[in-house]
């Protein structure tokens, strides 16, 4: 069925994105179903949604000849259809089957996207388990199926072939439809086929041609098969109805295919509106230019009102382009919820596997984050959530002893702070026992037994490579996930990982990430006729002080502000710029704060606040240790952004006691 009529790689990447979303959707639907399972009432909308998700996956897989995926999705779809038509009841066991089927699909999709179409033994294991379960369930209620439950294994084989044939047929139709419409939209191309297992024991496939779907582009598709009813017997299997194991991990690293982004339609509409305005503006300006030319030819005085019109149009243009720029920035941002939404499932699975009770509390899911960061933050977050569940959360018995609610809470929170995005992963578990860490650190030779270290240094040991928290903090063996890996991932994203723990109360990991590509507010300063930008969130104050108030400590300039000694950096000196004498004996100082430490930057003048777009400097320039990036100002000039974190490391750390203020005067 494979052909060259459509760009396969493009379809594969659509397939990956689409199925990824569908699998996430299935997870959340299944979790809600599971939550309400005891209530007895099944939300039929959720069941329908599950069915649709599976159906779309099946159809999409069929178009790409991913027959394994197609088969598994088809069987799952059948099972959900039985549930939908009340032929089987929703119970934990069924959900377990569907959950593991969803995970199997996840594995198969990753393999298929990576080009690996080989069958894996888990498929047969899973399918026979599912069929056995279904036939056992339906055997009690449906007439005629009792005998089938004891049928020969050969019949099962036959049934599988039949399934595959039907699926292939559906896929072929779907492919034809896609070809006709020319739109690589799987959801639209998939037939609205209804597959149902009838109670009759015969195997037959009925195809009803009863509808015409008008293609979106109006091209002629005369007849389309849009309803396929599969009448198949309840499958028989000799296998016992044992619950399949959830051995397959859904966390397979994503194959690196072209990254795509789904943009909120509203944001695209804003963009479109702005472009529309831009077009109107263009026409206006062209009109004015034309009139201006004629006016000047007649009498230059006539040109004066036109010049005013031009100025108005120019300011409109400025506004539109500014908004356009901002909107394009926003289009790159996606809510962090896209990453968070996979964790309810993770926590559910972890609760099952560890025997602990815990829930996940999500907040700040609407916090926008750059797409590239969202794509890469998932893995470290997954490690942290697992760490919380494995090592942070205590057993229900232990929690009862400490008067905590039996159900532990793992928190995932995100918010903006300055030009950073903060993501917190926390638990209300036992916290990290610093004494155990210390003992382990001494044992590993990482710290000296006779030295007293601050708690923060001890805590930092958990990020040392190969430092196993599993052996230290809890008896439950870990998944071989080192915290050093998490730290490295966060560092790679130019972020900072912090940990805060209280013994008996819980642990919170805080990830601080930069908002790359973000528009930030800065203070523009002038040094030797060059402009530099300082991110406003680090600026404490700007001061005009007498040059004679500056002192030195060990040769380093300092100033005393309200009794506090603040080290100074002369930006001009540091950058090798010509010295400029301070006007009327006053120096301009910007006081910045980094990690609670204050530093004064000596500049020639303040040029006010401005919102800027951060542009990274080319890697070719190398690490300058003082510049974080650059920006282009309104007049086209470039202003470099000072890297306060790097600058602060160049200042020697001093004790901030006041007697240093008595040090010698600056010569």
């Amino acid at each position: 069925m494979a052909d060259d009529l459509f760009d396969r790689s493009e379809f594969v990447s659509y397939f990956r994105d689409e199925t990824g979303e569908l699998l996430d959707r299935m997870d959340s639907d299944l979790l809600i179903l599971e939550e309400n399972i005891s209530g007895g009432a099944i939300d039929s909308e959720l069941v329908n949604a599950l069915f649709r998700s599976l159906h779309t996956i099946k159809g999409s897989a069929g178009m790409l000849d991913f027959t394994n995926i197609q088969r598994v999705a088809h069987r799952l779809e059948n099972a959900i259809d039985l549930l939908r038509s009340n032929k089987i009841v929703l119970d934990e066991e069924l959900l377990g089957h569907v959950f593991s089927g969803r995970d199997l699909l996840g594995v198969l999709i990753e393999r298929a996207v990576g080009g690996n179409l080989e069958s894996i033994p888990e498929i047969e294991t899973y399918l026979s388990g599912l069929e056995a379960f279904i036939s056992a369930k339906t055997a009690t209620g449906a007439p005629g199926s009792a005998s089938d439950a004891t049928a020969e294994p050969g019949q099962l084989e036959e049934m599988m072939v039949d399934d595959a044939a039907v699926a292939a047929f559906e896929a072929e139709v779907a492919r034809l439809l896609a070809e006709q419409t020319g739109v690589p939209n799987f959801a639209a191309a998939i037939l609205t086929a209804e597959a149902s297992v009838a109670s009759a024991g015969s195997e037959q496939v009925e195809v009803h041609v009863n509808d015409i779907i008008p293609p979106p582009n109006g091209s002629a598709v005369d007849t389309l098969v849009n309803d396929v009813i599969v009448d198949a017997p309840p499958p028989a299997s000799a296998a016992a109805a044992n619950s399949p194991k959830t051995a397959l991990t859904p966390m397979v690293p994503k194959a690196p295919i072209n990254s795509t982004i789904r943009v909120d339609l509203e944001r695209l509409d804003t963009l479109l509106d702005l472009v529309g305005e831009l077009v109107i503006n263009r026409t206006q300006i062209a009109g004015i230019a034309h009139s201006l030319q004629r006016a000047i030819e007649r009498d230059a005085k006539d040109a004066i009102p036109l010049a005013k019109d031009l100025a108005t149009s120019a300011s409109t243009l400025a506004r539109i382009t500014n908004e356009l720029q901002e909107s394009v920035m926003k289009a790159r941002m996606v809510p962090v919820g896209q990453v968070f939404e996979r964790f309810p499932r993770t926590v559910r699975d972890l609760a099952k596997s560890t025997g602990k009770t815990m829930t996940l509390a999500l907040s700040g899911v609407d916090t926008d984050l750059d797409k590239t960061i969202v794509d890469q933050i998932g893995e470290p977050l997954m490690h942290l959530v697992r760490n919380c569940a494995d090592h942070g959360v205590e057993t229900p018995e232990a929690r009862a002893l400490t008067n905590k609610p039996a159900c532990a809470t793992i928190r995932l929170n995100a918010y903006h702070e300055g030009n950073q995005v903060i993501i917190e992963v926390g638990d209300d578990g036992g916290g990290i026992d610093l004494e155990k860490i210390r003992a382990r650190g001494i044992e590993r030779g990482l710290i000296d037994a006779n030295t007293t270290y601050p708690d923060s240094d001890i805590l930092d040991l958990i990020f040392a490579p190969g430092f196993s928290t599993a052996q230290v903090v809890s008896a439950i063996s870990g998944r071989g996930v080192g915290m050093d890996v998490v730290k490295r991932c966060v560092n790679d994203l130019k972020g900072i990982l912090e940990v805060d723990t209280k013994l008996g109360k819980g642990t919170t990991f805080t990830i601080r990430l930069p908002l790359t590509l973000a528009i930030i507010r800065t203070l523009l300063v002038r040094v030797c006729d060059r402009l530099y930008a300082i991110p406003l969130d680090v600026v404490i104050e700007s001061q005009r002080i007498l040059a004679t108030e500056m002192r030195t400590i060990g040769g380093s300039p300092v100033v005393t502000l309200r009794g506090q000694v603040v080290p100074l950096i002369r930006i001009g000196d540091m950058f090798g710029l010509p010295q400029s004498d301070p006007e009327d004996g006053y120096e301009m100082i910007v006081i910045v704060s980094h990690k609670g430490r204050r530093i004064g930057l000596v500049v020639d003048g303040f040029e006010g606040e401005q919102e800027i777009v951060i542009k990274p400097l080319s890697q070719i320039i190398g690490n300058t240790g003082c510049i974080a990036g650059a920006t282009i100002l309104g007049n086209g000039a470039i202003a470099l952004i000072l890297d306060i974190a790097a600058l602060s490391t160049s200042v020697p750390r001093q004790e901030h006691t006041s007697h240093y203020a008595e040090a010698s005067l600056v010569a």
Binding site: S618, I620, I632
Partner: protein
């Protein structure tokens, strides 16, 4: 260097035969020497513009320029090649080259022309050249009486120091 027997034909015939017989170079001057760089690697040639100096970068790193909203690092090719600096003149140009997804501007004394040079006329860099920038050179091309020193775009973008 690829040797092609047919390339010994006239320049005109090589043209007809296609680019495999000749190399198309943008030539420029640096001091008394004439350099050539493969046209495929050249993005554009600009007059001198305001260059924003980047502090604490390498000596040959002149700074960054704003090229239609993109920041492009600019190197002074003279400094890079260990030649004395000169003040920019009316003839000075910034050649923006691109390879391996990276872009860089190079300040040169002046840009001369675009030439086709038969592959057969390109020889490996002579051993006598032991100048500091030998690693950037991709041979020497002879065209009439001229000697054109070929620069390798990728090596300029790829050196460790850069």
């Amino acid at each position: 260097m690829k040797s092609d027997e047919n390339a010994t034909a006239t320049v005109d015939r090589a043209d007809v035969a296609g680019l495999n017989a000749t190399r198309q170079l943008v030539t420029f001057a640096l001091g008394a020497e004439e350099y050539g760089i493969d046209i495929a690697g050249v993005q554009e040639i600009n007059r001198m513009v305001q260059i924003t100096h980047v502090p604490r970068a390498a000596a040959y790193m002149e700074g960054v320029i704003n090229l239609r909203g993109q920041l492009i690092p600019v190197i002074d090719l003279r400094t890079r090649f260990g030649m004395p600096r000169i003040e920019p003149t009316r003839m000075s140009r910034i050649i923006v080259i691109e390879a391996l997804g990276k872009r860089i501007g190079m300040i040169v004394d002046s840009v001369s022309e675009v030439v086709h040079i038969p592959l057969a006329n390109i020889e490996p860099t002579p051993d006598v050249i032991t100048v500091s920038h030998a690693e950037f050179l991709g041979g020497v091309g002879k065209l009439d009486q001229r000697l054109i020193i070929l620069l390798n775009v990728e090596s300029i973008l790829n050196t460790e120091e850069l």
